[in-house]
């Protein structure tokens, strides 16, 4: 339990740092660390597969892509466009809406009878694999078609057309 509080504190801290740093590259790096703490949370919750996917896909692939784009764009304070008053007002309204929603959700939250998981080992890779290769075998196999289509398309779009004479 103490481990949970340590990790939760760290996630909150790094999430706040993501917002408050001025430099966009630092901000993305803090976001990566935030995601890493989420991975630890997933492992604590016995959800191995989610932890691995979060680690590889979110941290590894998407955030690094973010970082590359940011570096290529070369953003800093000089080129940052001025935010108009309208945008600021809209942001305040949106933030207030989110706050109200969170308050409402907390109000409805039933803390007296905590949810007890029927099967704590449901998130383990072993059980997931059994479901994937028994019940969901057909969609699993068909996802190969999806990946192949995407691959063919990506190569087709990226390939240079030979010049006609």
């Amino acid at each position: 339990m103490s481990l949970f509080y340590v990790v939760a504190l760290l996630s909150t801290f790094f999430a706040l740092m993501t917002i408050f740093t001025k430099n966009p590259v630092h901000s993305v790096l803090y976001l990566v660390i935030t995601f890493f703490t989420f991975t630890v949370h997933y492992i604590l919750l016995n959800a191995q597969f989610l932890a691995v996917v979060n680690f590889i896909v979110y941290m590894g692939a998407i955030m690094v892509l973010f970082l590359f784009v940011l570096m290529l764009l070369n953003m800093n304070e000089d080129v940052e466009p001025m935010k108009s008053t309208l945008v600021k007002v809209m942001a305040v309204i949106a933030g207030c809406c989110l706050f109200v929603t969170v308050c409402g959700a907390l109000h409805l939250f039933d803390t007296q009878t905590p949810l007890i998981e029927k099967d704590p080992s449901i998130g383990l890779v072993k059980n997931l694999g059994q479901v994937l290769f028994k019940e969901f075998l057909l969609p699993f196999e068909l996802s190969s078609l999806l990946l192949l289509t995407a691959m063919v398309g990506a190569v087709l779009l990226a390939k240079k057309e030979p010049k006609r004479i």
Binding site: F136, L137, L138, P139, L156
Partner: protein, 458 residues
């Protein structure tokens, strides 16, 4: 299932043909493969349909009929591909294979019996199309269309997934039969209704019904004509089959919840689609808006009497697909010769090419729903299924819109027959185009005169 395996293998085989530069085998091999797939589906017609692969897929009469229609339309479009993409690129085999992959996805969408498979099918169908829409890399309109289609498609997939998740949260299953049993028990939580709403939004995005139609016109206009024809026929057929299967199989007990929604959406789609089509100057854009308005008529299958819904939907989409393919086929030739897709480009076509104008006229009359064409039978069945219910207001809207439809469909006929010839360009029409036009024209008339063969099919 054999049909899906055949199509997937065919697509990979076609890729290999491209690798070994066997360009002239592409079309025959693809057509033979499609014919084999149809053969497998026809063989399954007599079998007792049961959900296969732990309830993932169900090839009942409904699914087989729509799947065969999808394959047949694709085969016809493949006949038109010859000579269309030749001057565009060297990667002809990849286009064939992407179209075939997309078709495989469409067949999964017609035959799903589990939300996991519905999602997979929609994604396979769409991913291939995102690429095909943007195939003209140097063309600005094509790029814009691909980007719009991709973003809107990804967005609508998000809605669809969220809807599926909420329904799973309420019912505890992805399986359609389990969900139907759950709905029949009653006592549904709010979460379930939220899921149904999000599912409706996601699927209506795919079929392009108002108010989720904004991407349709731009994407249809920017995409290559042949891909537009594919999108407005096969994708629409598959998506409507999915909608009807879902709502008539699972959600009938809660129909008082979603029927008013579909009534409003259907009326809105009709009015917006038809009024926008009326003011277009481009034939291609007019067809895009007309496909939106046809989505409105197709939604009648959901709100009308459920006994005849499957049959009337099948009749309507058959008529619509046949006529649409002819219209886009003629547009390809006109665009290639005159370089324009406006109505003026059709001026005096009847004097230069009487046969083609006659067949285009038949197609236009079928889209407008004039008697003796297939479109009339489709509209008649849709309207009569609505008449048995109590949705008279929608019926009145639909009849007014059908009248508006005649106005803009006949504009091109007027341009062809009563406008003077403006330029002396000679139309180079391949024999494959004539073949397709004549077959489809005969089908339109046959279905219009002897509709009984399709009326009791499913």
């Amino acid at each position: 299932m054999a049909a899906i395996i055949t199509l997937s293998l065919l697509a990979i085989l076609v890729l290999y043909l491209g690798l070994y530069k066997a360009q002239k085998f592409l079309l025959p091999v693809s057509l033979i493969g499609l014919a084999t797939a149809i053969g497998f589906l026809v063989r399954d017609w007599q079998l007792q349909a049961e959900p296969a692969y732990s309830g993932m897929i169900l090839f009942d009469h409904f699914a087989i009929a729509f799947a065969i229609l999808c394959i047949a339309v694709t085969a016809v479009l493949l006949l038109l591909i010859k000579g269309y993409f030749d001057d565009l690129s060297h990667h002809l085999a990849e286009y064939y294979s992407l179209l075939l992959f997309s078709l495989t996805g469409a067949i999964l969408v017609t035959a799903y019996h589990n939300f996991a498979l519905l999602f997979m099918g929609i994604e396979i169908m769409s991913v291939a199309l995102y690429i095909l829409v943007g195939i003209r890399k140097k063309d600005f309109a094509s790029n814009e269309a691909a980007l719009k289609y991709f973003i809107m498609g990804a967005f609508s997939t998000g809605f669809l997934l969220f809807g599926i998740t909420l329904i799973y949260g309420a019912s505890g299953s992805f399986d359609l039969a389990a969900i139907r049993d759950y709905v029949a028990l009653g006592q549904l939580p709010m979460m379930f209704y939220g899921g149904v709403l999000l599912l409706i939004v996601g699927l209506l995005f795919k079929v392009g019904a108002a108010p989720f139609h904004f991407w349709t016109a731009d994407v249809y206009e920017g995409a290559p004509i042949l891909i537009t024809a594919y999108m407005s026929t096969v994708v629409k057929i598959a998506s409507f089959a999915a909608l009807l299967r879902l709502f008539s199989y699972c959600f009938i007990p809660v129909s008082e919840f979603w029927t008013p929604l579909f009534l409003v959406i259907s009326g809105l789609t009709l009015v917006i689609g038809n009024l926008s089509a009326l003011v277009q100057v481009s034939f291609k854009r007019m067809l895009a808006y007309s496909s939106i308005s046809h989505a409105g008529y197709l939604l009648f299958a959901l709100v009308g009497s459920q006994d005849v819904a499957a049959n009337s939907l099948f009749m309507y989409v058959t008529a619509y697909a046949v006529a649409t393919v002819v219209a886009f086929g003629v547009l390809i030739i006109v665009k290639r010769t005159t370089g324009s897709d406006h109505f003026e480009a059709f001026n005096g076509l009847s004097k230069k090419n009487p046969l083609m104008s006659l067949l285009l006229t038949v197609a236009m009359l079928s889209l407008a729903g004039i008697p003796l064409t297939a479109g009339f039978i489709g509209k008649f069945m849709m309207f009569s299924s609505l008449m048995s219910g109590t949705h008279i207001a929608l019926l009145v809207v639909a009849i007014i819109n059908a009248a508006i439809g005649i106005c803009y469909y006949l504009r091109v006929v007027i341009a062809m027959y009563f406008k003077p010839v403006e330029n002396e360009q000679v139309f180079q029409v391949g024999i494959n185009y004539y073949l397709v036009f004549i077959i489809l024209g005969v089908v339109t008339l046959l279905l219009g005169i002897f509709p009984n063969s399709l009326l009791q099919l499913i």
